[in-house]
Symmetry: C2
Subunit: 113 residues, 2 copies
DNA sequence: TCATCATATAACAATATAATTATATAAGCA
DNA sequence: TGCTTATATAATTATATTGTTATATGATGA
């Protein structure tokens, strides 16, 4: 893993974005699987606009990408981001979040699949 | 370097603290040298209370320690913090900040030494 | 003990953030 | 085309953050 050196501003911006529990968890999820907005709404038990707004911040910073598939929009980690190595380092320090997605699929039929 | 896994809350708290340009730079400085409040005031060209308040947040989270030496209070990195390895990873992604201290010592006589 | 220096804390103002509700947009389908 | 579903955006509100000025505290030294 290359150790990219970026400006203090760039790093601080990424840290501020990840310094929110919801967004940090989202990034951990997206690092393993693309997620549809509707899945994230269910996982975080939060209003759809709240989820969209978090996603927009991540997208505006270039941390995630979006792809439309029919009615749904899937978000994915932008692994080409200059600071992706930093993000991986950070995510290595939190517990795996994939059970959240697994648990969701067990308890609810989600529309996007 | 051990890869400690902490809770999402704990990691998000640290990231939020480091997600501020001033505090991120402070941490980079403190990782190499203990700093007196008066030095930080000069380096950041910010009011003394503003500096004290940033330091307090870092101290409250256990990221830095303080030591009084005569009239001065020196702050230092708490290398025993559970998430110090994460902090080191983060700091490895920003440019070295030590010139700021060097430059300060060249331009001004600071009282603490 | 009193004055001074270094720092912390309190009070406040300006701004940023994050959530909600209401509404707009865009795709898919009868 | 018009209805439904999925998502985005706007408007608003509540709260958090960051900085400033004013003041308190605590150590030093005459």
């Amino acid at each position: 893993m290359k150790q990219i050196v970026a400006s203090v501003d760039e790093v601080a911006t990424v840290l501020k974005l990840l310094g929110d529990k919801t967004r940090l968890t989202m990034m951990a999820l997206l690092d393993h699987h693309d997620c549809c907005v509707c899945e994230l709404v269910e996982i975080f038990q939060m209003s759809q606009p709240a989820i969209s707004q978090h996603l927009r911040k991540l997208k505006d910073a270039g941390l995630v990408k979006e792809t439309r598939k029919a009615k749904w929009i899937f978000y994915s980690m932008n692994k080409e981001h200059e600071l992706y190595s930093l993000i991986k380092n950070i995510l290595a320090h939190i517990p795996d979040q994939q059970e959240k997605l697994k648990e969701l699929k067990e308890r609810t039929k989600i529309s996007c699949e």
